[in-house]
Every structure is written in structure tokens, then in C-alpha cells.
């Protein structure tokens, strides 16, 4: 069911979601994306370069955050712009539990041409991991 521009307003909340991340998630993402930087799978290497643990790919976190928007609008092609700043890494411990990225979003601006700006908030362990995280979405 497509979301109509006429049924949203500034402040409309999108359904929030939680995305679990484990070490095997990161290995799978490394393979699919071609980003084999060892900080995303090799704990020894990550610690040597001063990270607290293996960290998630920023692009993986970016991919999770926009799902709150694409699941809301239905057609992922409704996203016409999407940008984030990677402000804090997402450490993924090797404890079988991993990390959870919590994402909420709300309509921040009504734009022309039935487009809206959606601002996203992504956190892990209560700390914000993406800044300036926003999408422009064309609604029905």
C-alpha cells in the first residue's frame, strides 16, 4: 500500500525497527559488497588499529537505516536522495549476540513534487551512530 503525500505531515513517525548484527552478518556483507577491510571481520587486526572490537561496515549500517523508509513506502525506488555521516562505529562482539542497530525516522519537511524529507535516527547501545542521516522520498 503506497503512502500518499496527502496523509503525512511534519512529525509523522515511520514505524521504528531494530536490526541485529552479528559477526556472520558482517562476513556475509563483506562478501556481497566486496569490502574486505579486516576491521570488519578480524578482531586481532581491529584491536591493533585501535578499535574497541570488530566494527560493522558503515555501509551496512546505512543499508539497515533506509529499510525503515523503504518498508514504509513499499517501493524502494521512492527514495530519490539518501545521505548519512558515519559519526561512531558499531562494535560487534563475538559473543553470539552481537549488536543491535535501532532506527527511528520521522517526516521532517514537506517538499515540492510530492516529496518529503525523512530524518533518520540510528543508535546502538543508546548511542547515535549516524549523523545528518536523511532521505528525500517521493510519495504517491
Amino acid at each position: 500500500m503506497a503512502i500518499s503525500y496527502d496523509e503525512v505531515e511534519v512529525g509523522t513517525q515511520l514505524p521504528a525497527q531494530s536490526f541485529p548484527v552479528t559477526r556472520d552478518t558482517l562476513v556475509r556483507y563483506a562478501g556481497a559488497s566486496g569490502d574486505f577491510n579486516p576491521i570488519h571481520w578480524n578482531e586481532k587486526f581491529a584491536l591493533e588499529v585501535g578499535l574497541p572490537d570488530v566494527i560493522a561496515h558503515g555501509m551496512f549500517t546505512m543499508a539497515q537505516a533506509i529499510r525503515v523508509v523503504t518498508d514504509w513506502v513499499g517501493d524502494p525506488a521512492a527514495v530519490v536522495e539518501y545521505g548519512v555521516r558515519f559519526t561512531r562505529p558499531v562494535p560487534v562482539p563475538n559473543d553470539g549476540v552481537g549488536a543491535v542497530v535501532e532506527v527511528s525516522a520521522k517526516v521532517a519537511k514537506l517538499l515540492d513534487d510530492r516529496r518529503v524529507q525523512v530524518d533518520l535516527l540510528a543508535t546502538t547501545g543508546g548511542q547515535k551512530v549516524l549523523g545528518m542521516s536523511r532521505a528525500v522520498v517521493r510519495l504517491a
Partner: protein, 152 residues
Amino acid sequence: MALDPSFIGRTYPPTEPYEVGREKIREFAIAIGDANPAFTDPEAAKALGHPDVIAPPTFPFVITYRAAAQVVEDPELGLDYSRVVHGDQKFSYSRPVVAGDRLTVAVTIDNIKSLAGNDVLTVRGEVSDALGEHVVTSVMTLVARAADETGE
């Protein structure tokens, strides 16, 4: 050593076409855990008006990241990739990436600046299809941490 700002505006030749396959899109969608049927089911994608399955919004980075290697590995620029982190990422789409697309990327260095001793490099990738039509622009900011800040 700071990066040379005279590289601002440098363009690199368009990459060889990357052919987007349905199964590559499926693999990527599974890797990000996204079950939207537009990524895996051609009929679902067609019902939304797309000619075939489409790729998730961040998929173009798979292609633009490879293309940006021209900059990252440019010996004249001299970036130390071991000190680089991904600072910002932005996409502007004319249309989604669709299975069957043959995409080329034209890379430009949009900006080089120094912030608190770190080099901040902005690399733009313009992604075009086989007809030369714009598909998506990726703007990536890379931050090379200052060499004297070890183990931060």
C-alpha cells in the same frame, strides 16, 4: 603530509561497464537482511513499474567503491589508505539500479581539505547506464587520519 589541493577537479576515465545481475542483487539483499520482494521477484518489481528486479538503495556503492580505487590508489595523490575511514556517503538517484544494467562510473575529486590535521577527500562517482543516461550519483567523503595520531 597533506594531500595536494591541486587535485581538486581531477577526473578519471569512466570505468568498464559493470553488468548488474539478478543473483548479485539477491545476494546483496540477503546480506543486508532486506526481504523486500522488489529485490528478488521480477513479478513484484514489475508490479511496481520496474522492468526487472531493482537493487537496494545502497547497492550502487558496490560499484562506486570499486571505481574510487582509481583515486585511492593514484600514486600521484599519495593517499595512505591504511589511515582512511569513511566519513560521509550520499546518493542522488535518477532511477533505481535494475538487473541487466551495464553501468559505468565517472569519478571526480570534488574537494580536498584539511580539518584538524586530517585530510578530507570528497570523491564523486557519476553512474550512467549503457545509453549514457544518469542513474545515480554517489558522493563519498574519506577522512585520512593524521599520521601522528596512532592508535586513536
